[in-house]
Symmetry: D2
Subunit: 400 residues, 4 copies
């Protein structure tokens, strides 16, 4: 069980969450809660830091930011006491969540949790400050944005919990974005691999890092609403006996842009030179495609995040002469459209259906990328929503 972000936005929400924890305890469950900071407190603290200084030593930043979770955990404990539930708050250090020393983005090395086990045995509800730990050098560390989900999964694993519930502002994972496809349906379950592919393809929640941690440690996740409290979506291992939907979801992402370097001589080492230069500037390249022409030259296209487009273009232009390229074309107006589904592995014709559907809508495919359970096409940005609607219908995701 984890509560964070919107779910503890303010005092009223803390009381609502305490009420829910109390109901769960009274039904005979042992509960551990990881809480994140209230509302936008983490943002506010980061803003304060930029206001007071251009220098942000990691040790002080983590001391600053973890104050948010300290407040939330103490307040939730008080609210639980008010409802007659014994509880005690634990900082990351008190919960013995040991991390490396990389401040502001620390990795969990080990969760001891002896004090949590003692509290549980005594019938108490431990409330743990999310996204925080203590480094091997005994300093306070912060796990990064969204780190409370990771704390929750790590605690669930360390304490041998049946499952980890992630309470959030959405009621689960949908077959597509209901803003685009009103008939999109909430999924009852999805396996880890599909969820990770959906994250990679643009699905904003849950945070990829916590899903990875959960898959690696085989912790079942239940993503659900902290507003309606209705059951949400289970993320778990694939059940081989269960029949798989061929396609589980259609996801689009308009956060990337395309760069094409044209007329490059088709020689070994050219691409390596180019992508090394981009990596040196810390630019994350996502999709890459290369077409060799009859004339012995080649065009290399790739996608980068919008905010890196200008830098990436500069890098390419700087290499233009050296690699003998003809031209560099930047194209910010693209979007990706992806279908994800574990059933793709065993069903032929999925890609054909996708391409036919887009063709019949008059949508041109500019790049293609695949994994064993995902198929992604780059299209014009202004056609992406039309593509998503058509694919959702073509794969009959709305039915039940």
């Amino acid at each position: 069980m984890k509560f964070g972000g919107t779910s503890v936005a303010d005092a009223e929400r803390i009381r609502v969450v305490a009420d829910y924890v109390a109901r769960t305890v009274r039904r005979g469950n042992q509960v551990v809660v990881a809480v994140s900071a209230m509302g936008k407190e983490t943002d506010d603290l980061l803003h304060l830091a930029t206001q007071v200084s251009n220098t942000h030593p990691g040790r002080e930043m983590d001391m600053l930011i973890t104050a948010g979770e300290r407040k939330a955990m103490a307040l939730l404990c008080m609210a639980l006491h008010d409802l007659g539930i014994d509880s005690a708050s634990f900082t990351g250090s008190q919960a013995e969540i040991i991390t490396d020393t990389e401040h502001t983005n620390a990795k969990i090395l080990e969760v001891r949790g002896d004090r949590l086990r003692q509290a549980l045995e005594a019938g108490w509800v431990p409330v743990v400050g999310g996204a925080q730990g203590v480094s091997t050098e005994r300093d306070v560390t912060f796990l990064g944005r969204g780190g409370t989900d990771t704390t929750a999964v790590a605690l669930a694993h360390a304490l041998g919990a049946d499952a980890c519930e992630i309470y959030t502002d959405v009621s689960g994972v949908f077959t597509s974005d209901p803003r685009i496809v009103p008939e999109a349906r909430r999924l009852k379950r999805i396996n880890f691999e599909e969820m990770l592919e959906m994250c990679a393809a643009g699905c904003p929640k849950p945070a990829m890092r916590s899903v990875e941690y959960a898959r690696n440690h085989r912790v079942r996740l239940h993503v659900r609403s902290a507003f309606t409290w209705e059951p949400g979506t289970w993320i778990e291992e694939e059940d081989p006996d269960m029949e798989q939907a061929i396609i589980s979801a259609v996801v689009s992402d308009s956060s990337e842009a395309k760069l094409t370097v044209t007329g490059v001589p088709d020689r070994p080492g050219i691409a390596a030179r180019l992508f090394r230069a981009l990596a040196d500037r810390s630019i994350n390249v996502d999709m890459i495609e290369q077409n060799v022409s009859l004339a012995g030259t080649t065009d290399i296209s790739f996608t980068v995040p919008h905010e890196d487009l200008a830098t990436a273009e500069q890098v390419c232009l700087g290499l233009e002469t050296e690699i003998g390229a003809h031209d560099v074309l930047a194209d910010p107006d693209i979007a990706t459209v992806s279908i994800v589904g574990a059933g793709m592995k065993t069903h032929a014709g999925v890609s054909a259906t996708m391409f036919e559907t887009l063709a019949s809508e008059g949508i041109n495919i500019e790049m293609i990328s695949t994994s064993s359970i995902r198929l992604t096409c780059v299209v014009r940005a202004d056609l992406a929503e039309k593509a998503v609607v058509a694919l959702h219908r073509a794969f009959k995701l709305e039915g039940e």
Copy 2:
């Protein structure tokens, strides 16, 4: 050096304070800073606690409230780094400020401060979270409102500092309240005893508790402005060689009310019965006066804080029959006017001057209370300001 309250109200003020610390360090001083929470953060946290719960376990309250100082200390360190000053933040626990276990109002038992000494030796500026410590049971504790002044004094004592500077929103201690006496003058120095009498007589700053700690450990205080940075008022031991002003200040206080129990038989034990009953209801009685009449009965008058008047009246009425009193009179419309000065001890006629001055203004004195260096009169509330102005003039406090 201590910074607190108003002086770190927001990000801009933190940068201003860091600039001032940097100037001080660059002039060759070793500096330790105790910071309190920013602006009204402590109030906000207390309000949050009342919003989420009626139950406020001390351990969780202290975890909650000390988050404010954690933020301020981390931010001040960042701002110092930005100015090229090496600094590190220390929680009360990291600074080894050991307290008793009385949560929300803990007392300092010992200040070890080894890590602070190491930091100072390395040329760093330690920034310590104010008003906090670690209990003998290893829990986080809070020293109470205004506790940052106490932290500063305790650190100054433990580290053998020359003096403890208290930066605040006022520029020092005045001969009277300038809202009442515009010609009131800032005092260059005042001794501990006078300052404590002024605190007791209604002077709102500095906090009495920190002055007591300073007197007990012979730490010189310098109360000064964190806005204009001009030199303020030194609070220190009396210098026997220096000529004393007879009177240092005129202070008034309208926070008390008067109760009179009339016609009580003049028998032993009556007063004891009455004041024990008041003490059992936690009512702080300040001044007490008893006049025996020729008829063998007596009137007992005493003052209590305004907010306790109703309860105190109830207590007296409840005892009316038992102690044989004639009547109970509550009078909320009084104020005290006090003159304070170490020179009173060796100068005759001070009280005469005070009484004559009030008389010549037509102000009736209703009760009188004295200490060796203070003389307090109870007068009608609406005449208190007139009394203060007249006394300030009579004792020539405006001159220099």
Copy 3:
């Protein structure tokens, strides 16, 4: 279209909402937005008012509180401009929402809205500050908590909109509280009368006042999620051609307590005397039940809100002698359980099913109250959840 409460909690949410408005406009819709204050701003302003003063003149309170909506509306306009959508903000006064002069809880008298119509004709999106208007005496007025829903409905009516969308933190109206009945189902549609009965029976959202306004002016409401944006629940007039579910929802409420006055002589005027006395103390009595005994005396039971129980008990005790009652019994440990459904009107046996279901669970019914489409029973508080679960199953509300 209306946005309020949680949905504009912070800057990020304002951008998300602007994005959604922009999508809606680009699909060819004319949109008017009513926004409430961000997050807990209204609470914060009320708290500030209690901090500065015990006196709260209505004119100044409304000036203070409406500042929250002013901020939200200006910010949402900026965010819309950023997305290329022309928009302009309008205060209640600029939108010509005329109210009476009852400050802090004003009623809408008339919505002129000429400037909104001009803005719409010019292709702009008007963003209106929620819960505010201008009184007939030209002062700023506030419509009360939850007033933004009322503003939205009033604008929808005045401007002849097809429907009024209420975006909130829940995704619609459920057949029961999913915290109690995990298999509770979101309703696709519900008629005004059922919704009003559900509000009266304890369903917390939407606000009863706005539903009443909508029913009176025949404005269709669509209650939906501002987090997942999936279609929610339509609240509209009953469609006589459509087959009705017999029961639409099971609702419980534990906010009331019971008082019983026993042994009252069975004479005219006794009850009138009692309930007049309660009304004079502004106590809202909900359910009332009276049983005449063979002995010619009667017991009168009724429910009042928990917070009024002590006062109500005092009132009854004060009348004990006058009305010749035997005893007054206060019982705080009750809850109501209600079933609501338009189909009840035409189906026999609904009440029998309810009573049998409760009986078979061993739950005793203490009081009963009915309307044409609602049936409410008072039960022991600790059995209410069990009752809700059993009734939800008995009326097969989980199926689809």
Copy 4:
């Protein structure tokens, strides 16, 4: 009387300010109060605007920002009511402060103030929202940062007040910065011209714009502390009968940097070309100095704000060839030191004393600029404090 910035930082300060207003009213004064937003609210609102949008239409910005003063004025009115003082709040529009249409930085065109006069005649205290007005096109306008001082001065003028009191966090205007010169003294009075020269030379308070408005309309200002309430500094017209101090203050400023363009041919139009190019980039040039060498070339030095140094250097380098310059030298490590005093006009030898003082401290003068009552020297930045201390002593400003 005006209260702003720090002085109404929070609820407690609003009560303190209300208490002070009440005292002033009870002494028989008619009072009008202009309040600015509480604490850093204006900053917070601006930050919100940058968070939600890159587009900031002036009309919406002013609607947003003026919400801060609305809140403060309503709260102050409530606090005054609590103390038995009748008061009413007025927005800029209700106070009939008419401005031009330049949003976010509007200029006052006219103050009608009929409603304020009526309120005063009825014995009420009008509380006016600072820094706001209504444009000639009936939109809400904001006067810019620090605009509450301007509102206060404009109201004092329009209502024929004796004086305008500016309550702030400093206790007046000092002969120098006490952080640098601890023996700096608060000035009892200073004339408008001196104050304006001090503002121009780097004195941070009061805001230059309000001093200019006060001089133009002959409104006496009293700058004083809202913490100690002691009398501060009067800013008024020069009294020809009063003996003038030769020098009133020593001010330094390290916010500027120096640029030197060397070896420019000594031809007409060269400087014009250079400074037009700088003006076209909106760079504010402060001091300018030109030395013609024997060789017929000249060096042009000038100062610009630090933040414009890089742009200004670029502009000069871009013109290097065109104007035939030899080199462009940027020097960020300078500071200005200024002496200001109305007595300079009639006393010879002031400049000689300044130069001798700097020389005897071994401080080199790099540029000189004068007005009739100010003398400014550019020196190395790290010597500026030494220069200020020496000049303060040389002109005997510490004496009284």
